[in-house]
Every structure is written in C-alpha cells, then in structure tokens.
Amino acid sequence: MSCKPVKNIQVTETRLETGTVMLTYPVGTRPWVAALIKRFSGAVQKPITKKLELDTLGSAVWDLLDGNRSVKKVIREFSKTYRLHSAEAEMSVTQFLRQLGKRGLIGFRE
C-alpha cells in the first residue's frame, strides 16, 4: 500500500473525446518469432504496439498516477472523487493496478 506506482515511459497516452485515456504500449516478441519474421519477410521487424482504452474509472485512476502518490493515496483520492466506500475503492484500484502491472504499463517503487 505504501508503494508508489510509476508509469512506464514507453507508454504513450492519448486523451479521447469522451475524456477517457487510450494507452499505446510496445509489446516484445519472442526471439524465435522475430527470427522467423526476419527470415520470411527479409525485413527487420518493426516494434509491435498494442492499444488499451481505459474506461472512465480506469482513466481516473491512471490520471492519479504521478509517481509520487502511494497506492494508499491513490485509493483515498479515487474514493473521495467518486464517493466510494473505502473497501470497494481499495479492491477496484488494487485490481486495476495489478492488471496494469501485468501488462508492464506501470511499475512500483518504494
């Protein structure tokens, strides 16, 4: 809870008309896949990117990640903004951060 989520610098964020955030992030390919592509296409593989569109709540949490706020502080701010129950905010924010972490979109520092 005291860890501070930090955004991956390779992630680019685009604000959509709806106010939500679209994240574009590079995805690493396995070396053998890259070798196959190189052999058959003859070209050096361009980095593959993926896009992830966050919903309103996800975008709100993403906006709170400034590298200085701890997870606990993010939960508190999120809960205050949407007048959510603290336990509910904690569960949804931690689940969301875990998902972002799995995709490599954020890291955590002490």
């Binding site: 309103t56 949407y82 007048r83 959510l84 336990a87 509910e88 949804s92 689940q95």
Partner: protein
C-alpha cells in the same frame, strides 16, 4: 453515535447478528454466517455463528477449533482463557467459554457464546496486534462491543448493515445469495413465497454517463413487455418496472409449466448526494405484496 471517549461508532448487522463497532472498522470479509471486521487493514474482530439443533457442547466446539488451527499449521496454540467478570455480567444471558491464542503477528482472545433462547452458537474473537499490546482503551472498546451484541432480534426484525448499505427486514427473509463486487452489491432473500433482491451500484455518476436511469433500469431488469414508470419518490429520481402475467390463458400456463416467476417488480432509484443507485427487485409465482415491497424500499438506504 459518539462515545464518551470521542470514538465514533456504527452498527453492523448481518444474518441475525447485530453489534456496535468503532466507525473505522470495516467489513473485510463477509460470508453467509461469517464476518471479519478490519481496522487499518488488519483483522480486528471475527464472528462465526450457526444455529444449533441438538445438544450444544462448548468443549466439543473448542476441541474442533483447536484441531482446525492445527490443520492450518499456523503454529498457534489455543488455550482456555478465564473471562473477566465484567464480560460475564455483560453476556449473562449466554453460556460463555473463553479461549486465547498467540501467533507471530497477532494474538487473539475469543469467546464461544451460546444463547439458550435462540440456540445460536457464536464464535467471536478479538485480534490484537502483538506489537501494540492490549491497552485499557482497547478493553473498553471490547466491553462496549460485547454489550451491544445481539444474536436474535427481540422484535422479529433483522438489521442488515454492512459496508455502506443498511436495511431492516422481517426475520422470515432468509439470505439466499449475496455478492459484494466493486461497484455492485447484491443481497437476495427468499421468503418461501417471494425472492427479494436488494442492489447497490456505484459510482452513479459514471454509470449514468452511458444511459439515463430508465435505460439503466431496463438493462439490469429486462422484464418482457413492461412499461417503466418514472417518478420522484422521497426526493429521488425513481423508475418502477412491473411484469404481471399475460392475459392469455395459454401463455399463463406455459409460464407456469416453465416454473418461471410470473410476477416481477423492481424499483430503481438514484441517490445523487451519495453517488449511488439502489434497487429492490421481487419475483414470485404468486401475486406480490406491494405494501411490503414499498416498506422494504423505504427502509433500504446507504449510510
């Protein structure tokens, strides 16, 4: 409710159990007959209870508890504990046995309570963080909690109050299903005649970005051929949906044979000040008691 010590308190009620706890204590886990209350992300109070049909033996329950802990291989050793006289006085209508245990991070003091009136056996244990110790303030808390403890209601009504929802329902409403997912809570009760469900969604401001309240109500309660009615009730924007059996006898029989509930009713309302949407839904194969349903809606709210 603020005590002399300045501590703010709240009531927790779940499946027949009712007690007052410090406001900062939050439900961490909730089961059908189980509740774990936490304080600062650490367990504070755990309750498990059940109705006993035959003879009740505290020794047997204590023995089972010891073997459960041994199976969990937590290294905790349970021993019997002499309960303070004050606690005996507070819980004089119960048979009480005390026990205690010590682990690496926590120690616990617990009670096995048996009420002869309602034949409910409750295992109640206070967790103590070993690095903080058990101060006098803490023991005052415990006495206050124990003096508010109820395992049966004197007026035939049960309080259901966990997280941020609160309602009072007749005892004949038996909990059938419950879920507390982030953003969506559901409690479904079975009365033998009806199935009544209470819902709570949040944050309403985000949910209602996609559609208005009527659109949301129709999405969550897709009753066939029903005409939603919108109104302002008790100051809240409200949508009511109702489905009654079709007039055609053939359709009526077909539905009866399919054992589908043929009477459905739901009320959905938006509490903008709390950023919540609440709903009550009832289903039955018999005509619904609308007066009862309206009183359920009246009692149901957010804290």
């Amino acid at each position: 409710m603020i005590s002399k010590s300045g501590q703010s308190w709240k009531e927790v009620g779940w499946n027949g159990i009712r007690l007052s706890v410090p406001r900062s204590w939050e439900a961490g886990r909730v089961g059908e007959r189980y509740i774990l209350l936490e304080h600062d992300d650490f367990p504070a109070l755990e309750l498990k209870w059940n109705n006993i049909r035959g003879k009740f033996s505290t020794e047997r329950h204590l023995k089972r508890l010891k073997s459960d802990y041994q199976k969990q291989q937590t290294g905790q050793v349970i021993s019997t504990w002499m309960i303070p006289q004050d606690w005996h006085d507070i819980l004089k209508s119960h048979d009480i046995t005390g026990f205690q245990w010590e682990g690496n991070l926590f120690a616990g003091k617990g009670l096995i309570l048996f009420c002869k009136d309602c034949r409910c056996a409750t295992l109640l244990q206070f967790y103590e963080r070993r690095d903080r110790g058990n101060d006098k303030f803490n023991s005052i808390h415990k006495e206050k909690i124990l003096s508010s403890f109820q395992d049966h209601s004197p007026n035939g009504l049960n309080l259901w109050s966990v997280f941020d929802i609160r309602t009072i329902l007749p005892q004949r409403f038996k909990l059938f299903r419950h879920s507390f997912s982030p953003g969506a809570f559901e409690l479904t009760f079975d009365t033998g005649i009806y199935q009544v469900s209470l819902y709570r969604w949040s944050p309403a401001s985000v949910i209602l970005l996609e559609s208005d309240l009527q659109g949301f109500a129709e999405k969550v309660f897709p009753f066939e051929s029903c005409h939603p009615v919108s109104a302002f009730l008790d100051g809240f924007e409200t949508i009511e949906l109702e489905f009654s059996p079709p007039l055609s006898l053939w359709k009526k029989w077909r539905q009866k044979l399919g054992k589908k509930p043929i009477f459905k009713w739901a009320r959905v309302w938006h509490i903008s000040s709390a950023n919540r949407i609440l709903a009550v839904k009832a289903e039955s194969d018999k005509p619904l008691d609308f007066e009862l349903l309206k009183s359920i809606c009246y009692e149901y709210g957010t804290i």
